[in-house]
Symmetry: C2
Subunit: 434 residues, 2 copies
């Protein structure tokens, strides 16, 4: 007997039924927004991450040398791949480019609740627009997708921030500070003990007084954003604040404003973000960490050798999203559904097969015996697949020109003439026929 690999899940049909419903909602919503599906490789050259990404992600890479001597990595995230694809067809693609895809990614990290080494994400990105409306479109997509799953503003909250507000304020406190290190510290602010957090800020080059002053500014509320502009007295902070306000105004037009809260300590861990960033949280705090996040990364395409191309996107992770939906009581049922089981009694295979074909042609989920089983065993199986209706095709019944139609929930059954089933009804049940 062989085991699967730790952190890699086998998903059986009951659980998959719920996941499929959820993925369909995420993808259908993206489709309505005009995001176009793409398919992307599972392997990339490892240098896509080793060249530019932070150490955190490189330490978690599933990387190896392939049979052709290439250093390759199983992709731990989508962004570098789509950036590469944009660069490869930069001239041919009409902009804005709006892409969506759902697929697994791989990171060798600690396995815990809602976090696995193989994990599924729906990624949505817009390339080629620096406008606040593009950020707002991504926020609105994410909010709409969650609402389609049954969540409300009581359940989730997008904590929105702006990299240039953080960077600009830091710069105005002390031009010598290591901005990226300080922002990484901010990203961990909620998870760390305060002395560890203070230590990281000092490592980034802030004095104790500066760290204290910076930390207080992180709690600035939406109505007081002008205070930050006044504090920093730089064009960078002024522009960042007005960009953030414009994004929130455009999100309002698209109905997504109510899900957004200013939260300057939301920084996102990855270095490539440049503008507005956001993370989705469970309002009750039961799902104790960020559910998913996204933001603007205007410099990545150019960094990959392309024309300067602004970009903004979001990656919705299925596992943390399922925790949020379960907490809110809206995760789809983890159960099979079956419209019909066609039960064979005696030598009725030919008729049963014909009826099965007809029901399948009408689009109904229909099973019949493929294992030569007894009446009782077939009925038990029909029950196990949650069949709504069992159509019993028996030798004696057939001799009298009829089937028996049984409702599996109530156990009630009735005879119907062979020619009347399925007949005029598209999807007849016991209730239609009794």
């Amino acid at each position: 007997m062989y085991d699967g690999i730790k952190g890699f899940r086998d998903v059986y049909p009951d659980e998959m039924a719920a996941r499929r419903t959820a993925i369909d909602e995420l993808e259908d919503t993206a489709r309505r927004y005009g995001f176009r599906e793409i398919a992307t490789p599972a392997l990339e050259r490892a240098e896509l991450w080793t060249d530019k990404s932070g150490d955190d992600i490189v330490e978690e890479l599933y990387a190896f040398t392939d049979r052709g001597g290439r250093e390759v990595a199983m992709t731990p995230e989508l962004t570098p791949t789509v950036a590469r694809m944009v660069v490869a067809k930069q001239q041919a693609l009409s902009k804005p480019i709006k892409w969506v895809s759902t697929r697994p990614f791989w990171r060798y990290e600690q396995v815990q609740q809602g976090r696995f080494r193989e994990f599924y994400q729906t990624n949505v990105d817009i390339f080629g627009s620096a406008e606040p409306t593009a950020d707002a479109e991504v926020l609105a997509y994410a909010a709409d997708a969650l609402v389609e799953l049954g969540l409300t503003s009581e359940d989730f909250d997008f904590r929105v921030s702006h990299r240039d507000i953080l960077g600009g304020v830091l710069e105005s406190i002390d031009p010598e500070v290591d901005t990226e290190a300080a922002i990484r510290a901010v990203d961990k602010r909620e998870k760390l003990e305060s002395n560890e957090y203070d230590g990281l800020l000092r490592d980034a080059g802030l004095s104790t007084d500066e760290a204290e002053s910076f930390d207080a500014l992180l709690d600035t509320e939406e109505d007081d954003l002008d205070d930050l502009v006044a504090f920093a007295e730089t064009e960078r902070v002024e522009n960042a604040v007005s960009n953030l306000e414009a994004v929130l105004a455009a999100a309002d037009d698209l109905g997504a404003r109510e899900y957004c809260t200013l939260s300057l300590d939301t920084a996102r861990g990855l270095d490539y973000y440049t503008g507005v960033v956001f993370e989705c949280f469970d309002t009750t705090g039961e799902v104790g960490r960020s559910v998913f996040g996204g933001g603007r990364y205007d410099d990545l395409i150019e960094g990959f050798g392309g024309q300067p191309t602004p970009a903004v996107g979001v990656a919705l992770g299925l596992a943390p999203l399922s925790l949020l939906c379960q907490r809110a009581g809206v995760w789809p049922d983890e159960a099979l559904t079956t419209d019909y089981y066609v039960l064979q009694v005696g030598d009725t295979r030919e008729t049963a097969a014909e009826l099965t074909r007809e029901l399948r042609e009408r689009g109904h989920v229909t099973e019949t015996d493929v294992a030569g089983r007894s009446f009782g065993a077939q009925l038990e199986y029909a029950d196990s697949i949650e069949a709504e209706t069992v159509v019993i095709v028996g030798e004696q019944d057939l001799a009298e020109g009829q089937y028996t139609v049984k409702d599996m929930e109530s156990g009630d059954q009735t005879e119907v003439p062979v020619e009347a089933f399925p007949g005029e009804y598209d999807r007849p049940t016991y209730d239609d026929l009794a």
Copy 2:
């Protein structure tokens, strides 16, 4: 600039639209048959292949040692994974187990037309039934899926064989022959020069006379299967012939018989097959090799440490299937479709956003400007995404309480009152309103 990896394809939206249509047909058909979707890991312990599979597949494995010291492989096929999953929950799963999934697999092989190192397959399997009706269900599924794609019996042909007929006939010719080696030779019969093929048969232990006699038997036609039984005079061949005939009769009940032809030199390359095997071919021969194949593998689950559990399945590869569909002229359009583009002229963002939301809520694929573009640039973009209808939301029009609705194919346009769009129509076009 970074390159992708050879044999790994980037699939852009136009091509993906066609692939999605095809995958949806394959999966919807499986769903109607009562196959239940599962999700399976991209990595498995390498021993799933190195322990038992032929050298061919092991030489093509993307295998490496992970950070935890495990010997792992990116899965080159699904069968060992589903066998492992059946063994892991053998008691809990009600039988027959009917599973479907679509996902990529990886093999380091020669890249050629329709063959890549990363390739997508829809796998369909039934576990727990040794009945001919189970083989027939798999054949009928595959035929129905192809018919849903628009193919007919003029386009494709299932060449059906039986491992035990080949094995039993070989055994009766010479009990000392290496049956597996001889069957692997048969699998390559069409691809090899006749002297190479003869050489492989001699390597398997057949004399020149025996090889000649065996080779002639491979051309036995359906009506003459009894000749094989008479030739071999063994129960093994008699049972195999009657099993094959029963499978074809059950396929007839399900409407799949017309796609099946007896072809004893169809052997399938993998060692784990035990009973009926089949391969789909292009009837015109333009797609010069097997499009996909499947068959019965009754011993694999027990070989993986489970209870004896008969099994039968098929794996439809998307790339070779697309070659067949393209040859037959039924591959779906590689093009985008868009219901509406809402074009903003002047300061109309709020109204345009509201209209966009309403159209999206109705389920229509709707885009609007997210890049602050001019009238002309927006119209050009609407054209590039193949928008059917453009709704122009202009400042002046709005002052008069109207939108302009433009048909993108004809260029015709008409004004409509704001309150009348989309109004009573679910999905109004120029033709509804003019």
